[in-house]
Symmetry: D2
């Protein structure tokens, strides 16, 4: 029997004080902050977690610390995306050792893979992993989609339990819902906060939403309103999320703008440090003031 995931699984940012040092106190704070919002899991070392930008030692340390502190209160999922199969497996072994529930992987992303290469790679990977595997569709960074026939093929392997789609492409997501309609154990999540509601209304199982780092309860409410089709509750929450998306996530022009916006907001909220690992940089003072204004416009204390 497969693990079924449903609901909100925040892609946790990684609190840092510099490129090679965790912000230990901030890490404790953000974990407690997120769990207190009633979320359904925690995903570390994804795109928002700067997974690929961190050293392996720091990643191993993070896995251990997060698993210890979460202490099975909610499932922990660990990003193992890598260009090297061997390093992916090694990361998954750390995740298993420390008590994570599942791992998450995008395709190797230096070369662009074909669909048949995706199938053989993920079969290989799933068979060697000590934990169940979530696929992570992230074409902006990996240059390739998991086409729906490919997902169906890979999902024949029982070790593969779901897919998180960060493409923002709802046509694609609906074809996945169709392709997997006879495999109800397979979980389909989306990344972008702003489309979690509509995908849950139309067959999706939840959101891996960066904004849930800041406002976990807001996203849990969004999910519950959507899954119960309670539009009176849903509409104003969705408006808040649109406003948040359109403001905090686009303060800089960098491809790191979501990440740096979230880290800046968390720092302003007193939760953790806003340091961002190389090759990116945290928001400057002027942008930080903008984020502050946006938080106030959102009446952010009411959302916590």
């Amino acid at each position: 029997m497969k693990n079924q995931f449903r609901g909100i699984i925040p892609p946790m940012i990684t609190p840092l004080v510099d490129n090679n040092s965790l912000d230990i106190k901030g890490l404790e704070s953000i974990i407690e902050h997120i769990i207190s919002g009633g979320v359904h899991g925690l995903f570390i070392l994804g795109t928002t977690g700067e997974g690929t930008n961190l050293s392996y030692e720091l990643r191993y340390d993070l896995i251990q610390r997060v698993c210890i502190q979460v202490s099975k209160r909610i499932p922990v999922l660990v990003g193992i995306t890598d260009t090297s199969l061997t390093e992916s497996i090694k990361m998954a072994e750390k995740a298993a050792k420390y008590g994570a529930e599942a791992v998450v992987s995008s395709p190797p992303f230096y070369f662009k893979l074909s669909q048949s290469e995706l199938i053989s790679y993920f079969n290989d990977l799933a068979n060697r992993l000590p934990l169940p595997l979530f696929l992570y569709n992230m074409p902006e960074h990996t240059k390739v989609y998991f086409e729906s026939d490919t997902v169906r093929e890979i999902a024949k392997n029982d070790r593969v339990i779901g897919l998180k789609d960060s493409s923002g492409n709802s046509v694609y997501f609906q074809t996945l819902v169709h392709a997997m309609k006879d495999n109800l154990d397979f979980s389909l999540f989306v990344g972008p906060d702003i489309i979690t509601a509509e995908t849950v209304l139309m067959g999706g199982h939840g959101g891996v939403n960066g904004g849930a780092n800041m406002f976990p309860k807001l996203y849990v409410d969004l999910y519950e309103a959507a899954i119960t089709r309670d539009f009176n509750r849903l509409v104003p929450i969705q408006e808040k999320i649109r406003q948040l998306w359109y403001s905090i996530y686009y303060v800089s022009n960098s491809s790191s703008c979501h990440l740096t916006g979230i880290k800046c907001a968390l720092s302003l909220m007193g939760i953790c440090n806003d340091f961002v690992a190389s090759p990116f940089r945290k928001l400057n003072e002027k942008n930080k003031a903008t984020v502050k204004r946006y938080l106030e416009a959102l009446d952010y204390k009411s959302l916590m």
Copy 2:
């Protein structure tokens, strides 16, 4: 006061017997077929209408014939997308002369335009048009999105009454809903059939759906179920539409696959010729047999 469009506005295919000749009888049939489904408008000379692939003489002839036959029973919208401003305006003048309600335009699509070029181009265009203008976001073909700030800027011009988004990108669509939230007269439609339901549930105004050439009533039902949030009705319709999308639209590998699938189905349904203009070709006999099987799997007579 702006014209408000809501509901299902099929992007009509153009029935042809060869590159330069309309299928006159087929044209009458499809117009009556579509209107009988209860649709809210008719859009000719769009992407599904092969607008850019047809000679201007044929386009002018089509506008006249369609307007005469529709005879104001529903509004007619005319695609005027062109690389030349002068030719776009000329097409719009024909549309106005024969009684169309509005025109629809993508950006000029040979060169890739910047956002500021989009703003100045569409201002120029709107001011010279005899009819109100719908923007048509089609980045696959035009290489550029109308960013949401650009739409807000262009929409300051009262002649611009809405936008049809065929990107399939629901993150983008939600940012449009947010950007236009104080301009309730501005209509936001989507192209891809398979996401009409979710966008209508989350703030959109309707669909310009190719499948409504075949099954206009099905799409009107979809829209009504979505706008009234009647999920008991909506869920099985959406399943039909996913099935249709995943079958009839992908019989060939060509970028014309939606179009050739629809024309083939219409021909099998006895409505019009399946000829497709250069540079494309209609489906071959083997593919035609596949479409026949798909139609039967859909129990298509129940959908008409």
Copy 3:
């Protein structure tokens, strides 16, 4: 026997006073200016000629005026790129009627075509044309390359006499040289000025270079130095062309930057008007001053 083209064939800009009016006097000036440089042909209505952006009436008028004035002193090639086969053929018929030597066509560019669609389209087209055909590879605007096997296939048709490659991709160009090595009548030209020398050194037949609007003799010299492998002559010319490329062609950020830079320079040189057709705009006064400085840095009078 095929027409063999060799040397420099400038892609002439189209002198305009507004969107719908030729700059008649400027047109005469630029034709004489270009011919006086000793070029080997003249290509009108290409990308630099704003072909797709102009009304058909204006294009027909231009073909007639150019052919009359050139009066067979050098061959005239006419761009017939269109999204509609019928309009392409109609344009070619005008070209033949007024005395042009050949026509030039990119793929239809609204939809992205497959390689097999390119083959059948260009076979169709070539067979219906009254003049020989040059292929025009312009993937930035048409979304597709003519792959080398496709070129070999299309070139089996005797009506197809050459290819102009504007991709800037020299790996591609060398595969074309290889693919066509047994078809010595087939002409292979490049678009970008800055790589004309190296392609001529390594098997190409000439350049369709925008800069030859300004300095036709400089480009003829470049070609001659390259074809005779005279590096003492070639190196300083190539340095001038690098300097020109790096300055005049990038004064604005628009995708029209080459075009607007050239028209601005021609206007400063007293040759013709710098009006640019919609959707673009000519350079503003500040940018015009920059072009002026660049021309002086090039010691442009020495190049005329």
Copy 4:
């Protein structure tokens, strides 16, 4: 004073017996084979070296073994491209420890970086490295070009000694030649074999050519013929290289086709194993037979 590199620096394939084991004997063979061709350096752990696909342990082991065996006969350059600055530096420290001459790095490639992010990243990196740095432009895999102004800016740092361009875009390469014309110590190399000749003729300094794994002497001859502008010698060599490119490099459809073609040929030549690391697979028996035929058509023994 900067290190000046000139000539042919083969991007060595990594001989493997499985994902985690070097083909030790094959490694010795290929190093001696390459050095015997008279090349000017050896680049390991690049794209052709499957750098990103290998475990770090294996990479460290490879660096040590290569440096020991080469034993300063020619300079060794080590690829340190990574998504994590810390891991890049660690790799560079291994390279320095074992006696390599320089390191080579593409941009971090999970996120797409902006030009200003490239500048600050490579400054950071260069300042922390124990060895001089070559930039590696590989937009197909990293999604971004080093624009020529960016290169000029980064090259102000004395630790940055050159750039290898694998884009195939000769327009870009010529703009680099122009941008760096006053910095004659800065080395400009190209990756694609088929354009090494023309870039050397027009200002480049050499080639990092995959084919030199198989036929090092052929590429050294190519370089010498180009640098001395000896066309009698150059033309037939370039024809061989076009033939090789068009055959051995495109036996499969995968993005690994160059790599798998080269490894297959080397195995047929008795030099090393053809195993290819995950996510790719070596050519199958049918494709292997094709490579054999291609080698014979090239009269490959005459090239060794």
